[in-house]
């Protein structure tokens, strides 16, 4: 099955270049951006302002070639891209949880953002702790990996 996905808005951030972008928004509380949803979709935002956090689904539009297994920024070992958040993945879909600071019409002001400037938005979902928190979840291979420097040239 194939489906054509169309952009529903644009994510703006301070990060024009990959090396400037935080590795995960959870570690970048001061990182601010805004999400502009196209006016045709404004009705889909109704009651979104009741949530403190939202999930942005977007396209990695500047990712390199897909490689199924490669190192991330957390260690030097290759990991399957379905076992990491690496952008160079089949279908190139990204997901970030951000704090929703305020809503003005079609514009969502957000923080904790780790997305490149002008990234194509394809969906927004509310972050709902009672659906999305798993108290007993492990961090898998990322456990105890705290490296947050980006080796030059690595995505």
């Amino acid at each position: 099955m194939k489906r054509t996905i169309t952009q529903i808005g644009i994510i703006y951030s301070p990060y024009a270049e990959k090396q400037d972008c935080p590795i995960q928004g959870a570690f970048a509380p001061e990182s601010r951006g805004r999400v502009e949803v196209y006016p045709a979709f404004v009705k889909a935002l109704a009651t979104i302002d009741t949530f403190s956090h939202i999930i942005l689904i977007y396209l990695f539009d500047r990712a390199g070639a897909v490689e199924l297994s490669r190192p991330t920024f957390l260690d030097e070992e290759p990991h399957g891209v379905f076992a990491s958040r690496h952008p160079c993945r089949p279908n190139g879909i990204g997901m970030s949880i951000v704090r929703l600071d305020s809503v003005q019409g079609c514009v969502l002001h957000v923080s904790e953002i780790d997305v490149l400037d002008r990234t194509p938005l394809i969906d927004i979902k509310p972050y709902v702790p009672k659906f999305d928190f798993r108290a007993d979840a492990s961090n898998g291979w990322t456990d105890n990996k705290d490296t947050v420097t980006k080796p030059p040239g690595r995505e």
Copy 2:
């Protein structure tokens, strides 16, 4: 921007019909299924078995027409679909966190599943609490809504 998304596997569950499907996997710990990733992508699963939970990204292939604002199963009020997890949404992309019970080659045995049988899979990401948990997040309009009965005919 548009992108053509291609299926990377199939999600199997006990739920052939929408009315049988749990509303959220977090409330259905005994709900078991399996994810079959196409063999071409097996390398992308390397080290996924180190995680207790994964995030499935899939296509709502049997959803009705897109409506930007509509009631969910939690109350009778309309909510914008970007403020709910409703399947009838632009681009029709679904997201579920499931428990990863075991991995056998291209087959992932999972539980806590709330997806229809034979749903087209388009991505898998690891669920990583240190990235994905927001301790101070609100439940928004879903707070204190515990209705889990599905009104007949409503998606």
